[in-house]
Amino acid sequence: MKIYFAILALLVSAVSLFTGCAGVDDVGFENTVQQAKDKVFPAVVYIRVLRENKESGKDISGTVSGSGVLISPDGEIVTNWHVVDKAINIRCLLSDGRHYEAELIGSDKDIDLALIKLKTAGTPGLKAPEFPFADFASIPAKEGDFVMAMGAPWGLSRSVTIGIISSANRYLEREGNYSLWYQTDAAIFPGNSGGPLVNTRGEIVGINTLGVITGGMGFSIPSPTVELLVGRFREYRQANWAWVGLELQPLHDFNRNIYFDGDSGVIIAGVEPGSPAETAGIKARDRLMAVNGTAVTAMTEEDIPAVNRMLGLLEFGRKADLTVKRGNEMLNIALTPVAKGKVEGESLALKKWGITVKAINRFADPNLYYYCPEGVFVLGADQGNTVVRHDGLQVGDIILEAGKHKIRTLADMKKAYDELAAASSRDRLVIVKVMRNGVELRTVLDFSDVNNQ
């Protein structure tokens, strides 16, 4: 009897031993995570940027830091555009402690992506350093996949947060919509912005870009988009989007509660004035059916970025064949896209006057562009400036003339400023003509205190 009990006890304890480590799968998962992390951590880079900040009227520099990820052994790093925008100086700290300066290869504001490269030209004769790097995922991520957001928020040590892909086709209303987003609940915060979103195989599935302050929701640029853009950065030093000037609307627009018949094509909501589409004769309410023979369809707003991307990748200067449905007619319209060019004007700080001006750009400042296609406007004013008095000059005013100088471009503005603000200038009061709210006004700037500085 006792023997039987003993064997039974043994069996029971054996079973319990096995059930005790009921985490056979758990241990496996933990291992997977560790492996993936170990694979990519070395490639995560801490980036520190000295950038010029002209918005508040002064020409000050500030530091911005973020993360990036090495994607090739010769030191190419992918990060966000908003990390390296307007950078004067980019420095990177690798996980093994090495530090290098980096140069900007290419960046794009619409996608919010940038490619920088470590400057490794050092002592000749020495072997060029090699860097650990991470690969892009071969299979795109899908909802429910476990992902890790990695970054280097404050310096040497790296951080990793974990979550899943909450949505693989997130549409965010922004200007320049060329891509959908991955939404994840892995914590994305300003520190790991620009860092990689990594799957359990240790591959990059996205670049962390946006987070919500309350947490729980973050957005990453999907890796197919990143790969596409990296290629274009390498070739053109920018995304080199083409611009046709079409505003698109899906067939089933739930938000605006407007539904169009049929299940193919994409509705053209508007044609921007002065655009290639307007020149080609496309009208609002036309339905775009195909581009160069490839059918396009946008049923819901999630389909819009893909169509934008197709149009953005057209070769500029080269005629594209658009098939457009107008009423019951099918029309073939030839359209020559142009380069989108800059999506933001440059800015200039006028130190003595305490204001910053910026060139008007049709993408960044559409309401100003409407009134003045070529011009310069007041971006910001310094709090303590003495020149711009109450109601004299307001943020958003387009400067048309300053004294005797007509202002069209930033260069014109610089020339006028240099002359008027010179210590030798005897003009104490300068009449400036501005456009505000579509109305031309004249205002007087008082330089009596300034020119003596």
Partner: protein, 754 residues
Amino acid sequence: MQQKNSKYSVILVFFLTLVLSGAVSAGETNIQSGGKEAASAPAAASSGEAGNKTAAKAEENMFDPGIMVKQNRINIEKNADSIVLVDFYLKINDRGSYPRFRNWHYVDSLIADGLPHQQPAFALKKDLFVLQDVFINPEFLSRVEVKFRDKSYPAEITGYSPSRRAVFIRTAKPVEGIEPLVFKPFSGKGKYYIFQLRDDGKNWTWWTMPFSAPAGYILSGRSQESINSPATPYYSNLPTDVLIVDENGTAAALNFTIRLKSSEKLDLPPDKWPVIPAPELAASGQKLLKNAVEKSLFVVKLNFHQPRRNPNVNNNSNERPVVFMESIGILLKDGLLLVPEELSRSETARLDKITVMCGSRAVPGEFAGSFRDFGGFLVKLTEKVPGVEPLKLEKHDFPSLIDSPVNLLYLKRSGEKVDAELERNAVRGVMLGRKNARMATYYADGSCIGFDDKGRLITVPLKIRDYRQTRQNNTRVHNVAVNELLELLDAGGKSFDPGNVPSQNWRRTAYLGILYQPMTRKMAEARSIMQYTNNGATGLEITYVYPGGPAERARLKSGDVLLRIIPEDGSSAKLEMEVSRYPVNLRTFPWNMLDRVPEQYFDKIRTPWSSEQNRFNSDLSNLGVGKTVKVVYLDNKNILKEVSLKIEASPEIFENAESYEDTASGLTLRPETFEVKHYFRSAGGEKSLIIANVRPGSPASIAGIKPYERLISVNGTAVGTPEEYRKAVAQGGELRLEIKRLAESRVVRLEIKK
């Protein structure tokens, strides 16, 4: 209660013989379901209900209240089981109007508390009751219940007897314990009493009062309110809402109306009263309503020139004088419409354009005269419009109309169409108002057009002019008799005020065709023009010159500083361009915040452009359109110059441009006048309409359209005038609107039912 015994009846008869006319009544409470409880108390009250007043005084001291109490008890015993209370539960109708049969406070407190309007009713059968018609329109009733002995019985209105002011209701099930009334006509002998259930404010109490002459009723040929002798004699001052009983309490007659034609018999039993079934009455009312609204009543749009502002009056810049008004015109005859609006002489002088909306056609109208004594004017249609019918205008014998049934039309304007509600009612009285105007009053309030039961016009709502009062006092609208109206029309020019006409030489608003900004001290310093501009206190700097305007022709340019304007004939004082007098709003319109404005504030958003209805233009107008003036100014090089120019009338501006309010979509559209076109840099050839307002809660508002966006096309068709828009949306259904907000355009979908 069996209270009768021989002893009492002897005393009763004794006292009754002393009674000739009643001045004393007795009341006893009735404890009925739905009724109120109270102690019985005989009350001595003199009432004027029985007519013969002189007799009343003499007999008063001979009258014993005790007799009335006893009679009351007899009446109660005999008839209490035949009288019920009816609960009318009221509601607001589909259009959001309140019942009009009583004042708003009464009605609103009942609806708010869920309490019914109560009335007594008399049983004719176990399930049929008759009661006084207080003109509750069925569309305001949510349910009707008969209450008897603590039980409620759902009931329905089945018919009306307008000549008797009665309404018949039928319960779904017979009322338990009810005793239908049996009527015995007047015998010519013995005493009669009136017996009723009265609400004294707190309780329902039974009242008994003597009923005048034993033979029955008072014959009268004239009421103190009539103006002339009526054509037909009638009985007046009858007791209403009463059962007339004999000494035994047996019912002889039922009466609800104050007046009755002498050809009618007072003691005609109710089952013999002429009844019009409820659906038939409603149908005939609807027919009248439909006919009138479609063929005889039209929306009239009035455009006015901008007024000049009196420079001596301290103007509140928030008040904008009327430049556009919409009213309802009544087609009378010969293509003449009566517009019941009281326009002052100065307003009519500014009248620019009259448009009558006949169905979908916009017919221009000609001013045909404004009444001297009444607040109304006539408009003549300049085109023959098919399908319209003037209202029948006939003289009526107004005194005989008193208490006769009428149909009242309450009008509302719904966009370009007239909307109306019909109420059955009766004429309460006829009187002479101020200026001896003949008018009628009804048992309902509010401005309405009155028709008799045959659909003929009897009153129109007009104000009586009082030139003493300022415009701020809202004079009441009176129901002016059609006889009066006919006399006004027949008198032709004599009834019009010759001074209340649109002015041919009207001094229209002037404009110079510029945008300007006021001088500042700094600017005067910078330009070295301090001595010309009074150290920056005077001077308007031109910032834009409108092409084709007088300023352009006078070669004025942007940058010139206007100093003063002097009339060349010296007729008025010169105009100094004082900066404090001509302020300009220099703020930007927040286009990006437009989406955040809640829709109830849409009509408060100021226009993005500076309005042409400003003090500069009105000062210029005071100098006079057509006058030649000398403009003294400083040119761009600060050289003092002068130029002569003629003051011109302003072209159409946003505020007085033709506006179209599309009720179906909720959009109010105006054509883009010159200052709007300049603001949006809209080229000459482009067609667009500016969205002046969006009605909160309308399909357009839900679709996200905001005020000051522009409508470019509807379903692909460009629209540049309200007429084009009207044609484009005539079909209704699904509309695709191309909307532009500054630079951005989008397609918006609206679903319109037609």
